[in-house]
């Protein structure tokens, strides 16, 4: 009996923090892991503003790669002029750009585009 009482008391003490930190009601959980974000610098290879498609040449040394991206809401041609950065309609092949994007199930989605001035070192 004594053992049962002790066990119950100990369990109650251990459970107190969980009880008092529990939410009053279940709320939809915000994602704990933000979507992975990436920054690419490269040359516009192809852009199709109506479909929101952007291909960028990037790479390391002579090992070049083509990165395919899709326009997010902020850079779509129908979007109001963004407060910072450019829309897809502002781009043409050959432009050197910096693109901020995030990986989604549908691929890389662009959130912000800016044209680059060539940096010196």
């Amino acid at each position: 009996m004594l053992r049962t009482t002790r066990t119950a008391a100990l369990s109650a003490i251990l459970l107190i923090p969980l009880v008092i930190s529990a939410p009053a009601a279940r709320q939809p959980q915000a994602p704990t892991q933000p979507a992975a974000s990436y920054t690419y610098r490269g040359t516009v290879h192809a852009v199709n503003a109506p479909t929101g498609s952007l291909d960028l040449v990037t790479g390391v040394g002579m090992s070049l790669r083509l990165v395919h991206l899709t326009a997010g809401p902020a850079v779509r041609s129908s979007a109001a002029a963004p407060t910072a950065g450019l829309r897809m309609t502002d781009l043409k092949p050959g432009d050197v750009v910096r693109v901020e994007c995030r990986r989604t199930n549908a691929g890389l989605v662009v959130d912000r585009i800016e044209k680059l001035e060539a940096p010196a070192r």
Partner: protein, 380 residues
């Protein structure tokens, strides 16, 4: 007083007897730790990759040292590789979507079994094809540290001084000034080395962790089972340090003809592009810090005329080439970017475009003077 004179004489003698740097030697003045990294990096440079250790599935060579081998690791070689691009409407397409710009000449047995190809297909959209010989990579660590501002100071894209030479910088796909490669596309040595591991050997690494596609198509399943990256950052860094710490060989001692040739080389205008010495900027590595070194390049693009034209890259049109650094010429058997010149005389006579003035002045020299210029170049 006598002791001071003797000491001064010995000091001057020591300077005069400074050990000459041979091809393949490390930079003088490296610390013991840097020298150890140079030696360990050389082992990676010379190590042979197999499909089991990441080679391919497309590749040009099985090790860095397979091509850069003559007379020592870091030197030249007899391999010639293929690059392809499309130049349309004044814009360069490196044809990444079709496997460009480096078109590998070999495949692993697994890829051959799967697709029945023994080299990468040549891009159907290409309108430029280039052959590329193996350059020496001596003194590349010094070239890497020449400040952009120094390169830009030599640029004269509008030929304001009316010398017929109008060098201009190339820029990488992200806008930075380029300096490495025959078209000066690549901004830094580290990037050139990391890219070469993938483009030449199919060895992915932390800087470029993805394999190239095969003529624009993905690698078939089961062909490349080695997990990416196929070498570690440590091995990449060691290889980078080997190349970075390779010195430029000391020019051989010039006789009277050679000295005359050196003067003529300048007098006929070759040094308008082949700038004899450059100076590095600041570096934490003492052997690379603010060093003046023999370079014989301005690291700029020059129009070399239609006969030499091949591919485009970045802002370089088909006829544009970076001034080749004249280092290790004594051991080179074939000259120019594609090895078409069998002698130095031929190489000079094949200069077109912005090189026409110097070429014609060279051709107008008496035979003995032309031989003197060549003797000077063979000392490098």
């Amino acid at each position: 007083m006598i002791h001071r004179r003797v000491a001064a004489a010995l000091f001057l003698l020591a300077l005069g007897c400074e050990k000459p740097v041979k091809p393949g030697d490390p930079l003088p003045g490296l610390t013991a730790e840097e020298l150890a990294r140079f030696n360990r990096g050389k082992e990676v440079f010379d190590s042979v990759f197999t499909p089991h250790t990441g080679l391919g599935p497309l590749f040009n060579s099985t090790s860095c040292g397979e091509c850069h081998e003559d007379p020592v690791a870091g030197g030249t070689g007899d391999e010639v590789e293929v690059h392809a691009t499309a130049f349309k409407g004044g814009m360069c397409d490196p044809l990444v979507q079709e496997g460009g710009p480096v078109i590998q000449l070999h495949t692993t047995p697994a890829l051959k079994a799967k697709l029945g190809i023994d080299r990468e297909p040549f891009p159907p959209s290409a309108n430029g094809r280039a052959s590329r010989t193996t350059p020496v990579v001596f003194a590349r660590g010094l070239l890497d540290l020449v400040p952009d501002s120094a390169i830009l100071a030599y640029a004269d894209s509008e030929d304001k001084n009316h010398d017929g030479v109008h060098g201009r910088p190339n820029r990488f796909v992200d806008g930075r000034i380029g300096r490495f490669g025959r078209k000066a596309l690549v901004p830094t040595l580290a990037e050139f080395n990391a890219g070469a591991f993938v483009a030449e050997q199919g060895i992915t690494n932390p800087a470029q962790p993805t394999e190239e596609n095969i003529g624009g198509k993905p690698i078939p399943p089961g062909v490349d089972s080695t997990p990416d990256p196929e070498i570690s950052q440590e091995l990449l860094d060691l290889t980078d340090d080997f190349v970075r710490f390779l010195a430029g060989p000391t020019p051989t001692k010039l006789d009277r003809d050679g000295r005359r040739g050196r003067d003529l080389f300048s007098k006929i205008g070759c040094t308008g592009c082949h700038i004899p010495t450059l100076r590095t900027g600041a570096s934490p590595i003492l052997a690379l810090n603010r060093r003046e070194f023999a370079a014989y390049t301005d690291l700029l693009l020059h129009d070399m005329g239609p006969d030499l034209a091949d591919i485009c890259l970045g802002l370089a049109g088909p006829a544009d080439f970076r001034t080749e650094p004249l280092l290790g010429l004594r051991d080179i058997q074939h000259f120019l970017h594609d090895g078409r010149a069998a002698t130095l005389d031929q190489a000079i006579e094949l200069h077109g475009g912005e090189g026409v003035g110097a070429r014609e002045r060279f051709k107008a020299l008496p035979a003995a003077d032309r031989a003197a210029v060549v003797a000077f170049l063979k000392s490098l």
